[in-house]
């Protein structure tokens, strides 16, 4: 209002647009024609955007023009009935001729073929200690009347017999008759009654078990589930423990190389070999454990690939090694011209590959041990001329020499290099800072 004053515009109230708004609203309210307003409001008050059913899509009833259809009240016979009762019903008559054919529901009158035996047959094959002829006859009569619904038969049976007993008698009688009447045993051997006779004790047990399951309370169910899962866990742990035990037995029976493996012994200890051995067993157990659990988990699988199995075993074997060590193992393999993943992974190849990896790990650990010892001794000797590089270079360079030359052992040269660590390191400045420069088979 003040703005308009400032601008000097005339003040005009706007009643016109308001009028326009109210009118369209009223129009929509008046839309319905043919239905009362309230009913229309039930549908949402607005005409549907799209017709819900397209009348053209509905199938048109095919009524050929030349036929005249009338409906007549006619009588009919039912072939399923034994008497000649005639009943009436509406019939669609076309052009004056009533439809032909049997009553359409007669085909549903199915019944079971219950065997009928003669007295002779009864005397010959069917006598039984616990059943009289009378009872057996009654049983069969009821079975026929009630289409082998044994529950009903049991209810109607004059003397009290259980459903299983009735079934047993019925099936054994039928079976005996079948076999007796058959021209040769081979003919009926395919018949289900003959092939699988009714086993009454099994049935009683089965039904008892079923009813027990049905009547289990929720608590019992929970307890059962708990017990099952615990049993499973116990089985699994027992299996893993057994496997580990076996692995230990197998491995400790193997002497030396692996006995010293994996001991990262501290530098000062002039540790006697038996201490090393015992401390060696513990990390050995862990490696054996890993291998055992890897093997156990593989066996749990239904199917797997050899390469997958190898990967798992390799992982298990190098689980105690750090990432760096694993990389070193791989480099070693490459220098030995061995594929990191075997090209032809058969059982033998994979086993060899795994063993090779383990041996390389042993080797690397030994080297580390040795270098620690040397470091310790040189520390004591007080030679501080070591360059502050990765100390690994020192022990590696002598090794690379011996590694490259398998046949000739240049022991002298090796010793010389070992005694002069300080001299050695600066003499290989190009090598010292490059970690990958470790064991080269081509060094000499």
């Amino acid at each position: 209002m003040d703005a308009k004053d400032i601008l000097g515009l005339p003040k005009i109230s706007l009643p016109i647009p308001q009028e326009k708004k109210s009118r369209p609203q009223k129009d929509s309210q008046r839309k319905p024609d043919g239905i009362s307003r309230e009913v229309y409001a039930l549908t949402g008050g607005v005409a549907p955007l799209m017709p819900s059913i397209d009348v053209n899509q509905l199938k048109k009833r095919q009524q050929p023009e030349n036929e005249k259809i009338t409906w007549e009240w006619l009588s009919f016979t039912n072939s399923a009935r034994k008497d000649d009762l005639k009943l009436y019903h509406w019939v669609r008559v076309v052009n004056g001729t009533p439809p032909s054919g049997d009553y359409s529901f007669a085909k549903y009158n199915k019944s079971v073929d219950v065997i009928k035996y003669t007295d002779e047959e009864y005397e010959k094959h069917l006598t039984d200690d616990s059943w009289t002829k009378e009872e057996t006859d009654q049983l069969f009569d009821l079975c026929e009347r009630f289409d082998l619904r044994f529950v009903v038969v049991a209810d109607r049976f004059p003397s009290s017999r259980s459903v299983e007993e009735l079934k047993n008698r019925y099936y054994s009688v039928s079976r005996a008759i079948l076999i007796a009447r058959a021209p040769s045993p081979a003919d009926v051997s395919g018949h289900p009654l003959v092939k699988e006779p009714y086993n009454i004790s099994q049935e009683i047990d089965r039904k008892r078990a079923l009813s027990m399951v049905l009547s289990q309370t929720k608590q019992q169910e929970r307890k059962d589930a708990e017990i099952l899962s615990e049993a499973k866990k116990i089985m699994e742990s027992r299996m893993a423990a057994k496997a580990a035990q076996d692995a230990e037995l197998a491995v400790t029976s193997n002497t030396s190389p692996e006995g010293m493996e994996k001991t990262t012994a501290p530098v000062e200890t002039a540790s006697p070999s038996n201490v090393q051995a015992t401390s060696g067993v513990a990390p050995l157990m862990s490696m054996a454990d890993n291998a055992a659990s890897a093997a156990a988990s593989l066996r749990m699988l239904r199917v797997y690939l050899r390469t997958y199995a190898l990967d798992q075993m390799v992982q298990a074997a190098s689980s105690s090694a750090g990432l760096r060590t694993i990389k070193r193992v791989e480099q070693f393999l490459q220098e030995l011209k061995v594929n990191l993943k075997p090209k032809v992974p058969t059982k033998a190849v994979c086993a060899e590959h795994l063993e090779l990896r383990k041996e390389i790990l042993t080797l690397l650990n030994l080297q580390k041990l040795l270098q620690n010892k040397e470091e310790g001794s040189s520390y004591r000797e007080g030679s501080y001329t070591e360059t502050p590089d990765t100390p690994k270079d020192r022990s590696f360079i002598p090794d690379s020499v011996s590694f490259g030359a398998i046949s000739t052992e240049r022991v002298g040269k090796r010793d010389q290099k070992r005694k002069g660590p300080g001299r050695e390191a600066p003499s290989s400045p190009a090598q010292s800072n490059k970690r990958p420069r470790k064991l080269k088979a081509t060094d000499s």
Partner: protein, 255 residues
Amino acid sequence: MARVSIPTDQNDAAVEESDSTPPQQMIETEDEENKSLTKKIKDLEICVPIAYGTISFWLGKKATETQSHMWTVYVRGATNEDLSAVIKKVVFQLHPSFSNARRVVESPPFELTERGWGEFEIAISIFFHNDVCDKQLDLFHPLKLYSEAEHGPLSTKKPVIVESYDEIIFPNPSDKFLARVHNHPSVIVPRLPPTLNLPHAPMDDTRRGDTKDHPHGQWFNRFSEADELLKLAEARQQVQNHIVKLKRRLSMLEG
């Protein structure tokens, strides 16, 4: 192919491998004998060696923009034996730009031939018969149309073939499966104990499903473990020598 690898028992360790019997094998024997959980035959793992991969031919004059190569992806027995005794069907999942990218092959030879221009990774899912295994096995293989040599000449005669060898292992085969395949050439079964009573299983080999006469058979690799074994044995020897030397040094240091 009656390669015998007996799971070692206390009796004989007559295995072609080295003396330090791998703990893997020992675990299998001792453990399984005490387990009587399932009715499955223990202590035996059935091994099916396969070779899978792709082979692709450049179409030369007949090549178009969208179809420059004709390639086949396949799973075959490593010695070209019939795999249908074990495998029920193989499903190859192709690049989505192919119509019906999920191709199912239900009878041997388990392969699929297509024309295209691009390289992509094919997912191969192997489904086994019901008595073999109800889990599928998944493999992956990149399709290679062009050879490694950067600007090598494209030839319509020489295909680019990339195959991988692997072995499918069933650690706990069922009786039925074992009975069915224990004499089948496509499968390696360790020597069965003589007392084992196998149910009788019919062998129907009415149809030939092996790839011995495959049209591209001349290009298939013959995978031999001998080379690798040799290399590995050499390497192990070297490493062992090394270890011996180091131990000597270590003992010298301590002594």
